[in-house]
Symmetry: C2
Subunit: 889 residues, 2 copies
């Protein structure tokens, strides 16, 4: 016979690990019972009943009725009360409880079992007529609302009418007699609206409530929530039926919620609130001011209201013991609910408490100190992405905000400053010591110096991967991108949105973590990387197997990443070095040249600059490995964009206007992502590759660096072979000239599906692979990041893709190519170095996959380095555990 | 001991199958010797010597010298002459002979062995002093040129000087004494130029010639040729040394070349030329008019000169017997060379003869009739691509041509007509019965009606896959694309190129097979599909396993393809139906709509038109399967392009100008190939899919068709699942409304790498896969067809890719995805129907791969259908042979 019902109380069948069967609440009630904590007895109807119910045409399993009857009997025995008994009635609460808490689900029915007879028994037992009738009317109201589908306001209307009739204003002024009358009126209203009476039979009440819980599993709001959060509908919900306890039976009663430690700071301090003579909902409702549990808490808050510690010292002591018992048992900070009935403590709920990132760190560090948990457990408990909160300035939560527009949260952090509309203005104002927010319709490589100078960047066009967004994230600058409701007029130097005109010199604040744009200055708080951060990072470094590198090309980015613990540069995008205003002219002259000679003249001017870039970078990284990717983007990205730029370029270069116009149009591409870029440029113009290689080796010889030269965008071994020859020839030439040589490697990006498929051939020539998962995702899925905005949201909404594949690697599809390339690459070169340098290198769930592929390293933007360190550690721990388990099995 | 030298003659070591070792010429000389045909004895130094020579620092293998000496001895024995003997000298020829004939290689040295002494022996033996001295000077001239590296004109100068001195003008007037003097002067010139005498020692002469052959393997021209034709340099060349026979020893001597059948028509007719008293080079040189071999040939040519059949009837009879022997033996038409020395026939070469496509068909059919070969052998001997010649009009080869420009050979066939510069003009002139050539800078969907009306299309911009090229090929219209030297001025209706101005109304001729543009009318010949074509196609249909379908959407294309033997439509691109002028306005209104309602209004107008399209198509195909692909291209392809179009559209639609401008810009995409297209459109706008499905089913019910509905551009099963529901719902609705239903299938394109990787999941929902290898190649390689022109030529030149992957499938890379998807698809649905509908479906070497994958069908443009039928048959035969061989092994 299937067991559909699990008891808790004196006799307990369940445990915390049975969350899937009993739901979160039920499993933890069982666990607390087993720990001997004072849990009002009850039982849980399993989630399997829910599934069986829907599989079987909304019929309950045959044995359920008997098992529930039996379970009620067990409560009756333990409580020495009887369900439906007029003199000694057992009352119960009925609550839903899925594996994860879910909005839309039926929440709670309290005081179930009351009727016109049992209310008398409650009067007799409590000796409080008003309490009993109040409890009864609360029950009718809740049950009528959530089980019978009546409108909440119909009940409210009756109560209001009663107060008007009695000429009173507060609920608390309603007398026992008054509540009795309200009850009568409620029941009459039910009869009138539904054509049937409110159920008097407690059994009927109970099955009505159970049915309501199961039915609520399929209401549209719950279905939608499950869809969005990818919760399978066959998980089902459990139902918890529990003996009632009352926190509102008098001054020796109370109810409260607490966290076993401070969820904001993580401090080991009993943090919580309670109310005397109240039911749980009163604490949340905010009608009365809840009081602190502890004297320390009361003092901190500067409250006059007495602490529980003072009012009910014995019960508080018991609660504090429960707190320690729970932490010792669960080894985590708990969020608990309790009720005190006539000086007797009852525990109603426990679960892991939500906390801020800072608190999470502190709790983990403290618990390891307290030997509650191991370092590994401490690491596993942290959410890597949440570390981001700690690395960027944030808005002071106490400050008031006047939000005038919303855009995309393109680069986290908050910043306030004077509005400017051009990169030059940003730079000159910043040089004068002013904080500036650079506001542009879009940014382009021309704006880099201004973005650098600005405290924050705001654009009205472009997505999460627009130029502004990518560059800002790289620089760690807060950025709100694509705030489409704002219109910018460069001529009048004004931005307008919803009737607000903001002129140059006015002040704006942006929150790049939320995408909000605010008028005026809003105070920000600078991040403080506490000692806990450092300790946790050290644990992570001990635990992880993969190295963490960074994607950086500027000295600033490289230094930031190194400070955050980067162990090398996994991707130095040399083209970013070309964007700088001082050299873009030379780059353009190279591109516009139609002859080898013309290109070589321009390249000769670029060589010393590029060499200096590398020298700076090599010095900062000081012996750490640096992967340098040769020129990658389509040439036309370097072209002058505006009419003014074109005119300037033509003038400075001394070229014919018609020539410039023609070349500009020749260089246009229909699909630049699939065009003449990456190694394809170097195949047609090997001299570009030669110049870059020379700059790398000249710099390496000077600084004793060991560069890893990376060829982008290959589709097979042949391109690599050809370009490796060019690189090696330059290396040998430089070593001969300088009379000194350095170690170096030549490898390649794997970012085209064909390269992944041909990886065994490629590995013959490549000393390392770095997966360019951005491009690999684009080509594997045939989706341009720049254009996917028009349909990707629909794809995620309709679960065609579970997540934005440009943020989290599509393991099912793109992952196959990565895995295949790893295996094939290793088959040809067992010691090949494997890494990833796409945006996914900083995404925790993608890092899990990379650990499974046993990559040597991931590389990510500087501000993602700590996140990657933690995520890599977690995965190393998890996967080594799984391996152990498998080897045992 | 390695055998470096193979004999032929009385004693023969080699055979035809040893081409790799002996080269083509050597192997066939050995084969003819073995057949007992009169081959002057000789020997072949193997290609392995060449390889060993280059591997070993230009040293010959040790044993070579002895083996050559021995081989010379064998010739001496058989000929009863002696190499270098003053009274009875053996003379030899030395020729190169690689596996395939190769320009740049040393060709021939004749009469080797002559010197001041042996020339006397030749005089004695031939009794012809003039012949002997002439032979001697020819030898010095050839040897001096090809072995010693002297300039040809230095020899010519001496001869001219002699004629001036003697006051004669013709070579034939030079006397024996005169040639003797020329010989002396030649030798003196050699001594003067090289500082060493011309070698008198026949052994030295021989080794000099052998060395020259091997050296010529590495001359730049040969290296380049090998690179271009992908011939490995380690194949090497062989050297053939053969006893001399003389066709120029008197009137009982002759020399000639022949084909065993007519290479132009294929007729079984002995086709060839000869010259009495001449050496081989004289026939080719064209100084004397060669005479026909047969009386029939002489009559055909209307020649007065006597045929060999008349002049030397006995020898001719012998030659005709050789002809039959060779055909019976080689079972193919042969290209032969022969010499008659003093009424004795000698065979100098035989090889398979080159032939026109028409001749190839006729020869195959005749030889099967003659039971020389089987149908399978007949099929295997044909070159599928050459059939293309037979399907399009061609220029009369006798006509003179004034070529004014060259462009890309974008769509084969030739056409003459009046020049027009707009689609409307093309249409109205064509309606008046005029032949027109539509000349445009580029074409766009707006021009379709004009392209249809035109006899030929000429563009000055765009590549082999430009709109003009693709559409023209689909329509079977000749097209020259991207003729960049031509400039077109629409205003003055003039095109200019190299000083020629061509105005509207003037006449041009284009040759779309060669890319030539000619002034005036050049007569064209219409293709005649002979009975042989039909017979061969019937054999092919019996032999092949794969079905051949066509890519077609217009009634004309469908009918053409059906006439060419298409067994269904594999790809009906519904968007092409939208391009028609009459409905583009409605399509645009749909696209510009921002609301569901707006789109539905426009779609309602399109429904009846689309239904009619399908009815027409279903009627033509009359029960054959038709795969209909739902809307595929990016929406913006339908947008009005020119300012005038935009103005017209705005006016007709009644929309605000600012609205049109805004939508136009919103619909722009950075990388349209990777953008909002294919099923992605249907996911965001399911109503488009619903309209198309309804049109399909309404048409199918009316015509009893069994449509196959194809969803494009999926990346996994989910999109298919969602859209299949939309299609099925429409089918059921239509069937209910009409009270009648038809069979149908729903399947998908596999054209994104991810779809291939997820094929096992996709096949759960898909009843068929059709590989879209164009897009699959683009995404697998990350190469846009539209942009690859800038680097693809370099990629093919540098052997990064062996061929243009958009013409011939990249089996190594893209092929892996196709193969994987076939296997995975079948694993989930064993009877899944598999086909291909990219351009590769009509490419013979790609078809070989598709046969290996055991696809059910290939689909190609109408004019490729016969090619595909033949290629599929050849592959079925080859692969079943291989299978048999494997099963034997």
């Amino acid at each position: 016979m299937t067991k559909w019902v699990y008891h808790f109380g004196k006799e307990t069948d369940g445990k915390a690990q049975m969350k899937n069967l009993l739901g979160g609440k039920g499993a933890n009630l069982a666990e607390m019972s087993s720990l001997g904590l004072p849990v009002p007895p009850g039982f849980t109807i399993t989630t399997e009943v829910c599934t069986a119910f829907y599989d079987n045409n909304s019929q309950y399993p045959d044995e359920l009725k008997a098992q529930v009857l039996d379970a009620i009997g067990k409560i009756e025995n333990q409580m020495d009360m009887k369900f439906g008994d007029a003199s000694n009635p057992l009352l119960v609460s009925v609550r839903s409880g899925a594996r994860v808490s879910m909005p839309g689900m039926m929440d709670t029915v309290l005081n179930l079992g009351l009727n016109d007879k049992t209310v008398e028994g409650l009067i007799a037992k409590s000796g409080d007529e008003r309490f009993a009738w109040d409890s009864y009317r609360r029950f009718i109201q809740m049950y009528g609302d959530v089980v019978m589908g009546l409108e909440h306001h119909d009940f409210e209307d009756i109560m209001e009418q009663h107060k008007r009739d009695m000429d009173i204003t507060e609920d608390t002024d309603i007398t026992a007699e008054g509540w009795k009358e309200v009850v009568a009126n409620y029941k009459e209203m039910v009869q009138r609206q539904l054509g049937k009476p409110f159920p008097e039979d407690p059994q009927e009440q109970l099955w009505g409530a159970i049915g309501a819980v199961f039915s609520s599993w399929m209401v549209p709001r719950a279905i939608t929530y499950r869809k969005i959060n990818d919760i399978p509908s066959n998980w089902g919900t459990a139902v918890n039926v529990q003996s009632m306890v009352f926190g509102n039976m008098g001054e020796d009663c109370a109810t409260g919620v607490a966290f076993t430690r401070d969820p904001s700071t993580g401090e080991n301090f009993f943090y919580g609130e309670y109310l005397v003579n109240a039911q749980g909902e009163d604490v949340v409702a905010g009608i009365r001011t809840p009081q602190s549990l502890t004297v320390q808490g009361k003092e901190r808050e500067g409250s006059d209201l007495p602490a529980m510690e003072e009012v009910m010292p014995a019960v508080f002591k018991q609660l504090d013991e429960v707190r320690h018992t729970l932490e010792a048992h669960y080894k985590d900070m708990q969020d608990i609910e309790f009720t005190v009935q006539q000086n007797k403590l009852f525990m109603l709920q426990t679960r892991a408490g939500k906390r801020t990132a800072a608190a999470a760190l502190k709790i983990a560090v403290d618990m390891v100190d307290e030997k509650l948990i191991t370092k590994e457990e401490g690491l596993l408990r942290l959410e890597p992405s949440s570390l981001d909160q700690l690395l960027h300035p944030t808005l002071d939560p106490k400050a008031s905000k006047n939000i005038i527009a919303k855009g995309l949260p393109a680069s986290p952090g908050a910043a306030s400053g004077i509005v400017v509309f051009s990169a030059d203005d940003a730079e000159s104002r910043a040089n004068n010591g002013e904080d500036v927010i650079l506001c542009r319709i879009e940014t382009s490589p021309e704006d880099i110096h201004g973005m650098h100078a600005a405290n924050g960047i705001l654009t009205t066009r472009g997505g999460m991967t627009s130029h502004a967004a990518v560059v800002a994230r790289g620089m760690g600058r807060p950025c709100v991108a694509g705030a489409g409701s704002i219109s910018i007029d460069y001529k009048t130097k004004t931005l307008s949105v919803g009737g607000n005109d903001v002129k140059e010199g006015d002040i704006l604040t942006i929150d790049g973590g939320k995408g909000e744009v605010m008028l005026g200055e809003v105070a920000t708080i600078k991040p403080e990387l506490s000692g806990d951060f450092g300790i946790v990072m050290q644990w992570a470094d001990e635990a992880r197997r993969m190295k963490i590198r960074t994607n950086a090309e500027t000295p600033l980015d490289a230094q930031t990443a190194k400070d955050f613990g980067a162990e090398g540069i996994g991707l130095c995008r040399t083209e970013h070095m070309f964007f700088e205003a001082s050299r873009i002219q030379n780059v353009r002259e190279m591109i516009f040249a139609e002859t080898l000679e013309g290109r070589e003249t321009a390249l000769a001017k670029l060589l010393p600059e590029q060499r200096k870039d590398f020298i700076d970078l090599f010095k900062i990284m000081d012996g750490l490995p640096i992967t340098i990717r040769l020129l990658d983007p389509p040439l036309h990205e370097f072209l002058p964009q505006t009419m003014e730029d074109i005119a300037n370029f033509t003038k400075e270069s001394g070229l014919e206007e018609s020539y410039v116009t023609r070349r500009q149009s020749e260089l246009h591409e229909s699909n630049p992502m699939l065009g003449h870029r990456g190694c394809r440029l170097a195949i047609t113009y090997p001299e570009i590759c030669a110049m870059q290689a020379r700059a790398i080796f000249e710099a390496a010889v000077e600084t004793n660096a060991t560069p890893e030269v990376m060829i982008p965008l290959i589709i097979g071994v042949e391109e690599l072979k050809i370009l490796k020859e060019v690189v090696v020839a330059q290396a040998e030439a430089v070593f001969t000239e300088k009379g000194k040589s350095v170690e170096y490697m030549v490898g390649t990006m794997i970012e085209m599906p064909r390269a992944a498929l041909m990886a065994d051939h490629v590995a013959v020539e490549a000393e390392f692979f770095s997966f360019g998962t951005n491009d690999l995702t684009q080509t594997c899925m045939g989706m341009s990041r720049d254009d996917a905005g028009k349909f990707l949201p629909d794809y995620v909404d309709k679960h065609i893709l579970e997540k934005d594949p440009f943020q989290t690697l599509d393991v099912a599809g793109v992952g196959q190519l990565v895995d295949m390339a790893c295996q094939r690459g290793r088959s040809a070169r067992p010691d090949i170095k494997l890494g990833v340098c796409g945006e996914h290198g900083g995404d925790p769930s993608s890092i899990a996959f990379f650990e499974a592929c046993k990559l040597d390293y991931v590389s990510c933007s500087p501000y993602r380095v700590p996140i990657a360190r933690l995520a890599a550690a977690q995965e190393a721990i998890k996967q080594s555990k799984e391996k152990k388990l498998r080897s045992v099995a």
